[in-house]
Symmetry: C2
Subunit: 454 residues, 2 copies
């Protein structure tokens, strides 16, 4: 660990600034890469703002697009794009997990008695092993996805090259939850192909469920199960985020079924109803792929989806938004308060007051940023308010669904969406850390005074 | 204090349940009163849901209307309505302040060393004196308002009786921030009468600024100023709520001026611009009166007004919403966190962690209730989403502004708005207290465990 500490001290970068630095460098490098005419179809001219937008959208694995991917990029360009998606998806996920481990260790040192967390990942070699494990896991998932989809796509496409490209891009886009497509119309062509949808949903969930969850699952399945080893139990984080993740999918699917019963789903069979609802709900978690034109949905469903996209995916995943754990902590705190309890108990653990406070800070800051963005965009752009709210939620959640206004935004409007994708991807918590000054060790305290609340 | 304690124990009512009981009884009594045909114009037939809606709107001093006040009620009915507004406005404000005092005392007993608050209002006679003081103050404000407005209205109306009625109703409606009008078009007839607007804004602010503020101001101006007496300084609550209150008015006015520059305010003179912006901003604090048809405003202004109405007025005032202090505490906490500070310092005091947590609970619960209401209403009603969001914010903030859909809501829609006016008026904090069980003295604790946040 000494080497790591030295690196940190030497660069004067906090762990979170490292993410931002990585993100910034990745954007610059990828912009250079994607600007190469070699990767473009003939006759394509990319405006600087559209190049920036596409790059940030790819690095933040959002998937909002101001240009059509298959019309802009040739096959080489599409392959280059998948590398950018990998930088964005795996890169930041790896760093996120890495920082999680660092924080766990730091907390451990200070609050060892208070917080029961294990210390078995604190050596430098352990960290490198962990990062390789992440890389291996994701690449394996993508490889399997590519093989399955490409093989299956042989029936859809004329040449095996085309099937391979579609399968490869589809697997990368789904696993990194990128939301980009090279069909030109997302997964709409597969609206009645439940196999493709099931594979996609599986990949989307594996990418968005959070890397610590995947690691713990691996440990649980194939790890060392002698008594006393960590591998026998899941962390509170994993229990919380997995529960919330699937609960949100269920809520989205069930309510879409109810709300669209006399609308979009009116003339659909029961299995179409289930798959349309389930896929669109899964995609709001972070995927951004869709098997239908979401602007066909009715207003209540769209507002619900805005809320779901705003919540977003798990921390340390490829997804954005306020994150599932944050949302869960908010609900648990309100519930426990309404029940008249003093602490917040869940899964046989008690939440830390600092975590609770941070969750609320994240949620309210995010809500204020998004509200300000909506007000500014309604002022700048001619679009109806719901389309703007949807676009803002999608950008902040790095989801990538759109009611179709992205390409028609003004340059100022595009800049706002770029900012939201950036903040949504690094997370409000990192964003606040980024703009915060040096942490001040406070030397004095004022007397406390109570006030009347709401 | 013994008598009070006995009363409390005897009735098994917590202080907050008392408010709800008062509210419920006031609704039932007022429904009976307003249903009397004696108070109606000839030929008027009030549906039960409309009667309930009007009563709750009056008791919660919201001012949303499903029927026109001057068309439904005769002069006697209008006078009866002002009594209902008094029940709602003064009654709940008095109780709110009363409970504030009780809480201060309770906190004082337990945390005397920690929190510097004075104890000079804890005797039964002190409380009765205080409540009489509230009553006297408000009635005095209303009396002065009536005299000023009625005298001035002599130039507008043919008979002195009509001028008196208009002046009397106007003063009551403004001071209690009721938002009801008997002109049929709110204050639109006075859109170019700055005197009437200034009087109205003064009354609106006096009603919505919070009663503890008025008491402390009275004490400061005419109280005992010998050294060591409380009357020499304002409480943190007063400083916080007054600053926030006027800051919100400034934000609303300035941004309405900017956002409407090429829209509603395009053809207006500079003084018209100032008065239109200022009055509409003041009214979002809680008044609900307007000098224009708010549906003429552009989308960004309307969304901003939704946010302002959602925030609402000061605690222990005639207003609703999440309350100014709650919003201020949120901003301060985020700011201090972003600055890397551990405590939240303001005005030479430090905020209590419990208060911070409660503020966030209030805000997020309110946001979830309002979002659910918006989704449900967009499902039930045929109106555009912005009109529904505006209606919901207005009901929850008990503001009473509307883009014009209130009367056309379905019965289910009206019930949702009634619920929001109720919750907005008693406040989320009281609402959660109301639904909460017996406070459990926890006998055990789980180990704490940290999780990843946003
Ligand atoms: K995405
Ligand atoms: K009102």
């Amino acid at each position: 660990m000494k080497i790591l500490n030295i690196i940190f001290k030497w660069t004067h970068l906090s762990a979170i600034r490292l993410i931002v630095l990585y993100y910034a460098l990745a954007v610059i490098f990828s912009m250079g890469l994607l600007s190469l005419p070699f990767f473009h179809n003939e006759g394509v001219e990319l405006l600087l703002i559209d190049l920036l937008f596409t790059t940030v959208s790819a690095i933040s694995v959002t998937g909002l697009g101001v240009v059509s991917t298959p019309e802009t990029f040739n096959t080489a360009g599409i392959i280059a794009l998948t590398f950018v998606l990998q930088f964005g998806g795996i890169g930041i996920m790896t760093l996120g997990t890495f920082i999680w481990i660092i924080f766990r260790r730091r907390i451990g040192l200070r609050e060892r008695q208070l917080i029961q967390i294990d210390q078995n990942q604190t050596s430098m070699s352990g960290l490198v092993k962990l990062m390789l494990k992440i890389l291996k896991t994701i690449l394996l998932i993508e490889l399997i996805g590519t093989i399955v989809l490409s093989t299956y796509f042989l029936q859809y496409f004329d040449t095996w090259q085309e099937a391979l490209l579609q399968g490869y891009f589809g697997a990368i886009s789904a696993t990194t939850n990128a939301g980009f497509d090279i069909t030109g119309t997302s997964l709409v062509p597969f609206a009645s192909d439940y196999f493709v949808q099931t594979v996609n949903m599986t990949l989307l969930i594996l990418g968005a469920i959070g890397f610590p969850v995947l690691i713990e699952l691996q440990d649980f399945l194939w790890g060392d199960h002698r008594p006393g080893k960590r591998t026998n139990s899941f962390s509170l984080f994993t229990k919380l985020t997995v529960t919330t993740f699937f609960a949100l999918i269920a809520v989205g699917a069930v309510f879409m079924m109810i709300l669209e019963q006399h609308h979009f789903l009116a003339d659909k069979s029961w299995h179409e109803q289930i798959f349309f609802s389930l896929f669109q709900s899964v995609t709001t978690r972070n995927g951004g792929l869709a098997t239908m034109d979401v602007s066909e949905l009715s207003d209540p469903t769209l507002i619900l989806f805005c809320a779901l996209m705003f919540i977003g995916a798990s921390p340390s995943s490829v997804g954005g938004g306020i994150r599932t754990t944050t949302f869960a902590i908010m609900l648990l705190t309100i519930y426990n308060f309404a029940k008249g309890r003093t602490g917040v108990k869940v899964f046989g653990r008690e939440l830390d007051t600092d975590d609770i406070l941070r969750s609320f800070i994240v949620i309210t800051t995010a809500a204020m940023i998004c509200t300000t963005a909506v007000i500014t965009l309604t002022y700048l752009e001619p679009f109806p308010i719901l389309e703007i709210v949807f676009e803002v939620s999608s950008a902040f959640g790095t989801t990538g669904l759109s009611m179709g206004i992205t390409a028609d935004l003004s340059t100022a409007g595009k800049c706002i969406i770029i900012f939201l994708m950036f903040v949504g991807r690094i997370g409000i918590f990192s964003f606040l850390f980024l703009i915060r000054g040096k942490v001040i060790k406070e030397k004095y305290h004022y007397p406390k005074e109570k006030v009347i609340i709401g």
